[in-house]
């Protein structure tokens, strides 16, 4: 999903409807054996969902299909969805793991509302995902798994493959397991090991159906199993067998072609939110000239950032797996005192533990990045599912008046830029900064136009080197008159020895002070510093200039909201869209923007946290639309909400 919203092209069609071109016979990429080539039909976009047991390798299969699709040059957006348990009981509904991929010949914004194609590796996967399928969708099922026992386990009295209940769909029953075993009968692998390659058979079949390049997957498998060449070859064989099966079997009469997307010129790669965020942290270190120090404690869905940064020690990045979240942020803050770019990464429960240290960082006025990959709460909540319910925790979750800036990326790739912006704020204003991502951004992926590193922001900082007070003294709390930032004097600098702490300190000297007037002044000054942070104005997308309804979002709801806006406009509706990346402070023009519209709709994956802030600050009647299902919004659902809001205004006008 590229960020611009172009109305003229690329309207997500209603669910299940695919704009198809004429079927043209053309040979597939691997067709060399003189078989009559099957017809190829052109589509502009497809949504595929791979679903199976947690042990079936569905995330890997989805990742591979995504990489093939990225290499082909389609725009894409993904939605992995998996249980919190590592190996939930096999064959059960809670054990189902799925990966949805939306890809297109134009820019798209979401992983798609409903799959056009479902690959179901067992009855549980079919049952769990069937409710999401529109009529006419294709279902590829692994018939080998549809045994009486497996069916009974998920409450099917009769076999849905034969009882007519799937009549509304285009069903492809394929014995994936036995076909895989057959293909690997000479591999020398034990049956159990051979069977495990069935996901690659399915991947091969889908790769044939959609003309995906296969080279990358074969390379990947050989690298992944470099130490077990037999397994590597078995997987490659299963993958090829799946492809050839599609080519030869009667059941798959056509294959589909989705042309590369016409994205803005540049070099692209596919990237997930957590990877983009990790790269952003490395880049922030490079651009600031400061060594990165990450203090972290493992927690889903943030651990990947710790894993990723641990690989980049050759950038001078230090990663510290602490004994708990408090130590993670403590170490990062200690490193920041020493002149490092201190970072801590976590999810909601970890933020709760870090609160006191964040307050200390506010009082010390040291730069620090606090990354919260939000997940469903409260408490342990839904570890592997997405939610936006930590906004108020980030905003207010500390004792005392302890304002902290908040930056929230809107898409997986934007996590990169958001880190650089958060680092800019932290380093310029000497303050902890919250970066609020979420599970959906973290694990979802999209094409990313690789930036030119010379065009990344210059984040260099100047440490204090000279005394700034009378008689050659150093005043650690003497502020820059413009930013209100205090000097950052790191240990090792002669003449600037000073002591800082969480106790209230005197303006300027930093000495302990309990003076009432001084405290009042310091509280207000710390607030004024945050309020004065320069953030760009919020941009409003209102092409006709006649919209009366504004939809305003923040964070990962960007994709579904923008897709909904396209739908509404395609239906002739007028709606304006704005999206906040800076949540504290808000952009200076936000109040004006809000007052310009008769209705402001705020969709959030929480119970109305941004709306609460907007109402409090701007006295506008912002209306919430909320969902906390652990899943992103669907575009169709939001489009209905916007239609309804427009409809109400129209009705009022004609009354």
């Amino acid at each position: 999903m590229t960020s611009q919203v172009d109305q003229s092209e690329a309207v997500d069609g209603p669910d299940g409807e695919r704009r198809t071109g004429p079927a043209s016979p053309r040979s597939g990429p691997q067709d060399g054996c003189g078989r009559a080539a099957k017809p190829i039909r052109r589509l502009d976009r497809v949504i595929i969902r791979f679903a199976g047991d947690s042990g079936d390798g569905m995330q890997l299969t989805g990742d591979r299909f995504t990489s093939e699709t990225a290499a082909f040059g389609n725009d894409l957006s993904t939605l992995p969805n998996f249980p919190a348990e590592i190996r939930a009981p096999a064959g059960t509904l809670p054990g189902v793991s799925s990966f949805q991929l939306h890809f297109a010949d134009h820019d798209i914004l979401t992983p798609g509302d409903a799959p056009d194609v479902l690959v179901a590796m067992n009855p549980a996967a079919l049952k769990a995902n069937l409710p999401d399928l529109p009529a006419g969708a294709e279902i590829i099922v692994n018939t080998d798994e549809f045994t009486k026992r497996a069916l009974a386990k998920v409450g099917y009295d009769r076999d849905p493959l034969t009882d007519g209940s799937l009549e509304a769909f285009r069903l492809h029953p394929v014995p994936l397991t036995s076909l895989t075993l057959e293909a690997l009968k000479d591999s020398g692998l034990a049956r159990k090991d051979a069977e495990r390659a069935k996901n690659m058979f399915a991947l091969g079949l889908l790769s044939w159906m959609y003309h995906r390049p296969t080279h990358g997957t074969e390379l990947f498998l050989r690298q992944k199993f470099a130490k077990k060449p037999q397994i590597a070859e078995a997987n490659v064989s299963a993958f090829r067998a799946g492809w050839n099966f599609g080519e030869t079997t009667e059941d798959f009469a056509v294959s589909y072609e989705i042309l590369p997307a016409k994205l803005p010129a540049g070099t692209y790669r596919n990237i997930s939110g957590n990877l983009a965020l990790s790269y952003g942290l490395v880049a922030a270190g490079e651009r600031s000239g400061l060594p990165v120090f990450l203090g972290s404690y493992p927690i889903t869905p943030a651990s990947d950032i710790l894993h990723e940064l641990s690989k980049h020690k050759n950038f001078g990045v230090r990663t510290f797996q602490a004994e708990d979240e408090i130590a993670g942020i403590g170490a990062a803050l200690g490193a920041a005192f020493g002149g490092a770019l201190g970072v801590t990464t976590t999810s909601g429960p970890g933020v709760a533990l870090k609160s006191e240290t964040i307050g200390l960082a506010v009082s010390l006025e040291l730069p620090l990045l606090v990354v919260d990959i939000q997940r469903g709460g409260p408490s342990t909540g839904l570890p592997t599912k997405t939610e936006q319910a930590d906004l108020l925790q980030a905003m207010f979750g500390r004792n005392g008046e302890a304002p902290v800036p908040i930056v929230a990326p809107a898409t997986p790739a934007e996590c990169f830029d958001a880190v650089l912006d958060a680092a800019r704020i932290a380093l310029t204003y000497r303050t902890p900064v919250f970066l609020l991502s979420d599970g959906y951004l973290a694990n979802g992926s999209e094409p990313w136009k690789i930036p030119d590193i010379d065009e990344l922001p210059d984040l260099r900082v100047e440490f204090a080197t000279e005394p700034n007070g009378p008689d050659g003294t150093f005043r650690p709390y003497q502020r820059d008159p413009h930013t209100l930032a205090r000097p950052w004097a790191v240990p090792g600098t002669p003449g600037l020895e000073h002591r800082i702490g969480g106790i209230e300190k005197q303006d300027g000297t930093g000495n302990i002070s309990y003076d009432p007037a001084n405290h009042d002044f310091m509280v207000r000054t710390r607030q004024a510093k945050i309020d004065g942070i320069e953030v760009p104005d919020v941009e409003v997308d209102d092409p006709s200039g006649e919209a009366r309804v504004l939809v305003l979002g923040w964070g990962s709801t960007y994709g579904p909201i923008a897709a909904a806006v396209r739908r509404v406009r395609a239906d002739g509706g007028q709606v304006a869209q704005a999206h906040l990346r800076n949540l504290n402070p808000f952009p200076a023009n936000l109040g004006t923007v809000l007052r310009r519209y008769e209705r402001v709709i705020v969709p959030e994956m929480n119970l109305g946290q941004l709306a609460l802030l907007l109402r409090a600050k701007y006295l506008v009647d912002a209306q919430s639309y909320n969902q906390v299902r652990g899943l992103p919004f669907k575009a169709a659902q939001l489009a209905d909400v916007l239609h309804a809001a427009i409809g109400t205004l129209d009705a009022e006008a004609t009354r």
Binding site: A322, E323, G334, P491, G492
Partner: protein, 345 residues
Amino acid sequence: MTDFPALRLVPKADGPQTAKDFKTDQEVRWCPGCGDYAILAAVQSFMPELGIRRENTVFVSGIGCSSRFPYYMNTYGMHSIHGRAPAIATGLAASRPDLSVWVVTGDGDALSIGGNHLIHALRRNVNLKILLFNNRIYGLTKGQYSPTSEVGKITKSTPMGSLDAPFNPLSLAIGAEASFVARTIDSDRQHLQSVLRAAAQHEGTALVEIYQNCNIFNDGAFEILKEPGTRDEAIVRLEHGQPVLVGADRHVVRGPDGELRIAPLGEGTALVHDAHASSPATAFALTRLADADTLHHTPIGVLRDVRRDVYDVQMADQLALAEEQKGRGELAGLLTGSSTWTVAE
């Protein structure tokens, strides 16, 4: 002059320093008579011995009376939050090998709220010197019992006596894989400084328990170790390579069951103290020598001082090795990765 291998990477001072160089202009706000004064004076007059630049010295503390310490040291300092100083100091020491980092903490700060950070700092063996001011009470919050208070302690929060068994901080430290464990007393400046010296020489985390009198809420807690009439009997001075003597006429011997016990001179052979023994067993046994209630035969000095890999050194080594193997990281290459496609104009 003493050699301080742990300070190898810390820049040397240009010239000799004095205790005065380490004093700040801040008014010291401990209660008159508090043992913290003596510790402060001992530390201030010890620091010049290190011969390192003052600006490369950092004191990090938590919260408590003792934790006000950094404000009075004319070095870099941070007075942080309750219990978290070891974590904060770990981040600082791990990222700045050119600093000498000291932690000042209390018995509540280190062993109650911050117990987790303390044990992990000890097991990691970061180059930190932790000074634990043990007054067996919560001073700053006005006198509740602490995790080192004796059972049955009557305080405001335990009017009928405390119920929970205390920690033995040195046993705990040895259990947490500490590579350096020592104990000293606020009022014995010479001994205190000798222990600081050993701690500063030690590469890795050093835990120094300092018995400190809180004359307001737990006065006389260590009186038996200070009174001229009792102290010689009560204190067991440990010196590496020397027999462990108890008063004038007893010594520590290993009994037939392998346990340490105190016997009259002439009965059995005296245990010769080996602070560098690789097994922690005897050091642990020495931490249990004192009578927990009366503090009779309390060992002071360095109980354990062994060499072990130092976390921050190894962390720096890994960074250097990564750079050697892969070359200095190159951002454009990282961002591009291995799988891209190009969209033409």
